[in-house]
């Protein structure tokens, strides 16, 4: 992880009151966050449904996770979630970097018009039924790719991306332009390599949005082999009077395991992305 080193070394930190307080506060904060999640984790390993808070499982089992990975009805949605999340994040990044980059071309005639063209959609929408009719025309009903398409375009993320790009010093473009680079060339060779932090954080935002989306599935998807995992999870947790699908294990164990399974990919992914956040858009050196 040598490359993850921060460019700027802070002066040798002495143990100050500040840092002690800082650490204590953060440890308390971490505990507040972890306690409720601990409950979920413990219950996911508990073979019997327990309502109360427990520090350790009373009857340890891995059945919850085994069912998720072994039962087609749960594994398929999990795979769908992975596929749509990756595709959605990629499409989202392509569109938001393109859009964001064009929006910083201040000398481009009609730039403002395009900006408003985008902004308008953040505020006005046709509503559920008209969107449903459009999706049907596009042949996206009962199709998990609707998750990718729907999340691929996100105006807020275009604006955020634009904000990041703005931080890249104009002198770099100029140099590239003099070298005869095309706009696409500048974009690929200069802008993108300098925006790793932005790509990582906004890419993560796209991924999370797709991964966590159940409402799109609820409205547009009915075939069981096209739904995603969050949707299955929500059905398990919120559904009222429909008799629970009888898996041979306790319902509580299963859905707690499901909650953990839904968090886990990002828990694993995050540390890998983290180095980009730390490294950042290290462009301070040329910034005026």
């Amino acid at each position: 992880m040598a490359e993850a080193k921060v460019a700027y070394k802070k002066p040798k930190t002495k143990i100050t009151v500040f840092s002690v307080v800082n650490y204590i506060v953060f440890i308390i904060l971490a505990l507040i966050i972890l306690i409720p999640m601990w409950k979920v984790l413990v219950d996911s390993f508990n073979a019997v449904g327990v309502y109360q808070f427990r520090l350790w499982p009373t009857d340890f089992t891995l059945d919850g996770y085994k069912v998720i990975l072994g039962e087609r009805g749960l594994l398929r949605p999990l795979i769908n979630s992975f596929v749509t999340t990756i595709a959605g994040a990629l499409l989202g990044l392509v569109l938001s970097t393109l859009g964001g980059y064009v929006l910083i071309q201040f000398d481009m005639p009609g730039r403002n018009l395009l900006a408003y063209f985008l902004l308008f959609t953040m505020i006005f929408s046709g509503g559920m039924i008209p969107e449903y009719l459009v999706m049907r025309r596009l042949g996206l009903l009962n199709n998990m790719w609707i998750l990718v398409i729907k999340h691929g375009i996100n105006v807020s993320n275009i604006v955020l991306m634009r904000n990041f790009f703005e931080g890249i010093p104009g002198s770099l473009y100029e140099a590239a332009r003099i070298d005869g680079c095309t706009p696409m060339g500048i974009f690929v060779k200069i802008v993108l390599p300098l925006s790793k932090a932005a790509l990582a954080s906004i890419g993560l935002m796209f991924a999370v949005a797709v991964w966590n989306d159940y409402s799109t599935v609820q409205i547009y998807i009915n075939s069981p082999d096209q739904v995603n995992f969050q949707y299955k999870l929500r059905v398990m947790i919120m559904d009222g009077d429909t008799p629970p699908t009888a898996y041979p294990i306790s319902q509580t164990t299963l859905y707690n395991a499901g909650i953990i399974a839904a968090i886990l990919p990002f828990m694993i992914l995050y540390p890998f992305l983290q180095k980009y956040f730390v490294k950042g858009v290290n462009i301070g050196a040329v910034k005026e």
Binding site: Y8, K10, F18, N22, F26, L29, A30, I32, I33, M37, K39, Y51, F53, V94, L95, L98, G99, Y101, D107, M108, F117, T121, M122, F124, G126, G127, I129, P130, E131, V134, I153, S156, I158, L160, N163, G167, R177, G180, T182, P183, M184, A197, S201, V208, Q230, L233, R234, I259, A262, M267, Y270, P271, Q274, F277, G280, V281, I283, G284, A285, K287
Partner: protein, 321 residues
């Protein structure tokens, strides 16, 4: 693609003075780059917008839409529950927005000050975790913890600490008009603070080290550096985040939906949940009414964004885009 085109112009700064035609020609590559975005937005956002006309129609499944003029709006504006929901929407989402943004900024600034890289990374990973739990899950956990029954954790703790006497009845946090909003804000902070830090930490990592070095030379304390170097660098991002979220202020739904109940309608019912009950709890909804409320919601959101854009223009000299 015209990217291979070798004719490139050199001017950048002076470009504005050039004739329009030439400027368009010079930017042709940029227009082409915008085409995919344009097509997506046109199809996915603008095409459905034709449906806004249903706000002025009666539109039920199995019937043909018929014009009804402003009747949906008349019904909406004459209902006191609607106005209560409108007020709650503004209060809940604005307070929530400011609190979570504030918390995120504070947490990212202090996390940034953390010397030990391992601790810093671990903490970061922990605090962003709740974001990956859906609201349904979060609600089920907190309902359990806040339960007034003998199984409720918080009530049990209050009893153990003697704050609640043996004869006092338990506090029903989620069904008490005075408690509900603070609880709602706290749960929101719990869930989204960590996530909010991602964008701020990314910005912080972009701050030039020279600025800190210069401050060190001037003998600035840590808090002074936060005040004079870190915060100004964050200001731009904070404002952008706030304004972007303001556009969504009126969309508040899921978090309230999973936490509210009829005992606290007066402080918790928002437009999203109101419209849910009015249209989705009935066997055959009139989509016209929900479109009308949606339109009203958009107009309010639009006004909010315009105001903020103006404010942003005043403060920073430019709008959000």
């Amino acid at each position: 693609m015209s990217n291979n085109n070798t004719t490139m112009t050199s001017g950048t700064v002076q470009v504005r003075k050039k004739p329009l035609g030439l400027r368009i020609w010079n930017n042709r590559g940029h227009y082409i780059m915008f085409v995919p975005v344009f097509i997506f937005v046109l199809i996915l956002n603008y095409w459905p917008m034709l449906g806004i006309r249903y706000a002025f129609m009666e539109y039920k499944a199995g019937g043909t839409p018929s014009w009804t003029g402003f009747t949906h709006f008349e019904r909406m504006f004459s209902t006191s529950a609607f106005w209560s929901a409108f007020g709650n929407t503004l209060v809940l989402s604005l307070v929530k927005l400011f609190l979570t943004t504030f918390a995120s900024v504070i947490v990212s600034v202090f996390l940034n000050e953390m010397g030990n890289l391992f601790v810093k990374k671990t903490l970061q990973t922990i605090i962003y975790l709740p974001h990956f739990m859906s609201w349904a899950v979060v609600a089920s956990i907190f309902t359990l913890i806040l339960s007034p029954s003998s199984t409720g954790m918080i009530n049990g703790m209050l009893r153990d600490m003697g704050i609640l006497g043996p004869n006092d009845s338990s506090i029903y946090f989620l069904a008490d008009s005075k408690m509900w909003r603070p609880i709602f804000y706290m749960i929101n902070i719990w869930k989204d603070t960590g996530w909010g830090t991602i964008i701020f930490l990314a910005t912080l990592s972009g701050i030039s080290p020279e600025l800190y070095e210069a401050a060190d030379i001037d003998g600035a304390t840590r808090l002074q550096k936060i005040r004079y170097v870190t915060m100004p660098a964050l200001a731009n991002t904070i404002i952008t985040v706030l304004i972007l979220n303001l556009a969504k202020v009126m969309n508040l739904f899921e978090s309230v939906f999973v936490l509210y109940n009829s005992a606290v309608y007066d402080v918790s019912d928002v437009i999203g949940t109101y419209i849910y009950r009015q249209t989705f709890m009935v066997a055959r909804p009139d989509y016209g009414y929900s479109t009308a409320v949606g339109l009203f919601r958009s107009i309010v959101g639009c006004i909010l964004v315009l105001i903020c854009n103006k404010a942003s223009n005043k403060v920073r000299g430019r709008g959000i885009v």
